[in-house]
Amino acid sequence: MSDTTPTRRITLEVQSYHPETDSAPHLQRWDVPFTDDMSLLQGLQHIKDHLDGSLSFRWSCRMAICGSCGFMVNGTPQLGCQVFLRDLAPGPVRVEPLAHFPVLRDLVVDQGSFLDKLEAVRPWLVPAHPQPLGAGPQRQTPQQMAQYQPYAQCINCLLCYAACPQVGLNPGFAGPAALALLHRWNADSRDVGWAARRDVANAEEGVWGCTLVGDCSTVCPKGVDPAHAINQNKVHSAADYLGLGRLLARRAPPP
């Protein structure tokens, strides 16, 4: 049975920014009591519940499923629910909004640019022969599923965007998560959507915007490995450029 009485304290330096009154973001120090089983997210919730009710941040599931609580923790993108205060004590711990996104308020960023990029890769099944749900499942072998399953674990937490310097240097770059999901559907045996996604992949701001820093894969909390997904599509993109795209294209299965 764990001890629920806080006996230790940690200093959190949390970025504060209220656009209606502040000309620039600034850090605010908080002294937070904690127990060994408390996450950084719970530390922020303690501030909101007991010290400053105006502190704004996103969160939902508290167990690395929803991808809402991404922050820069001492300069490294991490999920607030996945890092424990005991590992950061005694601090001070700098908590800032995810890098490379406009800040709306405190730790809340504007995700609009990512959502546009995500929509552009058509992250849904493009079947050769559309069929109604009543027609039953479209079966796959375990080997066919293994081709895309790791990339399907993305939770859109945006840690990879905050880790990628190319996203910061070139805001038009489609970025790791969107391109990993592009690959997720391209690698699906039921999907024939490469023709619809090729323009995004082949663009200079598509897969060729990646210089293989590799930090996107390091910070991913779900082991998606976007760097691997992107660089596999450089082969597809080069084949397209050389007119060999037809050799790589998946043939539509019979209806």
Partner: protein, 117 residues
Amino acid sequence: MGGWWRRRSVHRRYMLREASALCITAYALLLLAGLVCLQRGEAAYAAWRALLGTPWSIGLHALALPLIAYHAITWFQVMPKTAPRLAVPPRWITLGGLALSALLSLALLVALWWVGR
């Protein structure tokens, strides 16, 4: 974004990996200059070899060797990211590439020793 690469160690290592490619380019040009000198005649080739023996050249070689080794190691470390999905663990691709590279380098050294003895 100014000075972005100085803030995190992973980005500093990335920049060193990319910068070490310049060292490889410079060394390839040096070897190319040797070939041009060889084509121009014995005197030119002897002058190029004499240049390699100067303290400045030896110092630059001492700097180039660790940079080229760093580039080779990091190159094989990112190789699995550029390969298709394979049945073998990514670590095996890195270690296999490094082992093959070391073996070929050793074979080249033995061959040069054999020819020059």
